[in-house]
């Protein structure tokens, strides 16, 4: 039987069936949340830890979830915040000093590099972005999330998100072309 978000939320709201509802919620969203977290933090071990903490936070916050936002948007917000916090705790040094000017244009280089090599570089390129910019890039580039939804998630204006995404894409492109 396929359960809708409404079914899952209804079960979770019933104290005697909360565990059952939560189990269904995990089954329904574990893969999508894993993917988005993994794209942000790159490594499986980190992803595993963050995903578990995400579900712990979801469990603890279920009673406060009023359904104002879509269930998945709410889950995304918790997962993304967990991932960003994880990166911030790591105090990593970001490779932020990429050259502004590159000799070749994207068009010229792209034709010379195999796609598989570029994809590997793309993963590494995401790793150089500052935490929040990285989350914005992942949510927009991979997950195709509308800015309005992201704005509700991050509490940031649509304009600021567009600018952030633009900078992120340019940084990633520069990385692909210079490394």
């Amino acid at each position: 039987m396929n359960y809708t978000d409404t079914d899952i939320i209804a079960l979770c709201s019933n104290p005697s069936r909360k565990r059952e509802g939560f189990t269904l919620l995990m089954e329904a969203y574990r893969e999508r949340l894993y993917t988005v977290i993994r794209r942000i933090v790159i490594h499986h071990e980190d992803t595993s830890d963050i995903l578990q903490n995400t579900f712990l936070n979801v469990w603890q916050g279920l009673d406060q979830f009023r359904g104002d936002a879509k269930l998945f948007t709410w889950l995304y917000r918790i997962a993304t915040n967990e991932a960003i916090s994880h990166l911030q705790r790591g105090k990593r040094q970001y490779w932020d000093d990429l050259p502004e000017n590159v000799a070749a244009t994207a068009q010229e280089v792209a034709t010379d590099i195999p796609a598989t090599e570029l994809l590997e570089k793309l993963t590494r390129a995401v790793d150089i972005l500052p935490e929040k910019q990285r989350a914005v890039f992942v949510l927009r580039y991979y997950e195709e999330m509308p800015y309005e939804e992201m704005s509700a998630m991050f509490g940031t204006s649509v304009g600021a998100l567009k600018a952030s995404y633009h900078h992120a894409v340019k940084k990633v492109e520069r990385f692909l072309l210079t490394n």
């Binding site: 189990t23 995990m26 574990r30 893969e31 894993y34 993917t35 993994r38 794209r39 499986h44 992803t47 595993s48 830890d49 995903l51 578990q52 903490n53 579900f55 712990l56 469990w59 603890q60 705790r89 994207a106 068009q107 280089v109 792209a110 796609a115 598989t116 570029l118 994809l119 793309l122 927009r140 580039y141 991979y142 195709e144 509308p146 633009h166 894409v169 340019k170 990633v172 492109e173 692909l176 072309l177």
Partner: protein, 170 residues
């Protein structure tokens, strides 16, 4: 098949991306989903999550005063754990004020360690100094021998190094 709204959103995103970077626009069609190790999501994840949930309930069900003590700060909690270790180790008869306080409220060393694992990610000199100040000034807490805590803190960190709490939590 995406519905009309989804198609429109995808097209908008694609147009925007190709405008900013044709290279990344073209690369997007080649992107593959990252895969979890086989069986992780299906077999391992739920068990690990339920374990964390049950553990958090243990902490949250403690009497309010214990939550206050534990909730002071992560730094204070570290020092409480140190103190607790000291008291139990040095004074197994349990007659010290600290031991009495912890025991009477049902708190165990395991509770504190769980709390640390869930809440403490970093430990630096500022945390230690703040924790010492809180412990010294908080009337709820018994008298604490600050120099002894300092000394035991070093030993405690050695214990951590031996794997009592994984390094990743610090």
């Amino acid at each position: 098949m995406p519905n009309g709204d989804c198609m429109k959103t995808t097209n908008d995103i694609s147009t925007e991306l190709n405008r900013i970077s044709p290279l990344l626009g073209r690369l997007k069609s080649e992107v593959v989903h990252p895969q979890a190790p086989v069986g992780y999501l299906e077999d391992h994840l739920a068990g690990a999550v339920w374990q964390k949930i049950d553990r958090s309930k243990t902490y949250n069900n403690k009497p309010r005063i214990v939550q206050m003590v534990l909730g002071l700060s992560a730094a204070a909690a570290i020092l409480l754990a140190v103190t607790l270790t000291v008291r139990f180790t040095v004074d197994p008869a349990g007659v010290s004020p600290a031991n009495t306080l912890y025991a009477s409220n049902g708190i165990t060393q395991e509770d504190i360690i769980y709390y640390l694992m869930d809440n403490v990610r970093e430990l630096d000199e500022m945390d230690i100094a703040t924790g010492l100040d809180i412990i010294a000034e908080n009337p709820i807490l018994p008298e604490v021998d600050i120099p002894a805590v300092h000394a035991w803190l070093e030993e405690y960190i050695d214990v951590l190094d031996e794997g009592l709490i994984a390094d990743e939590y610090l």
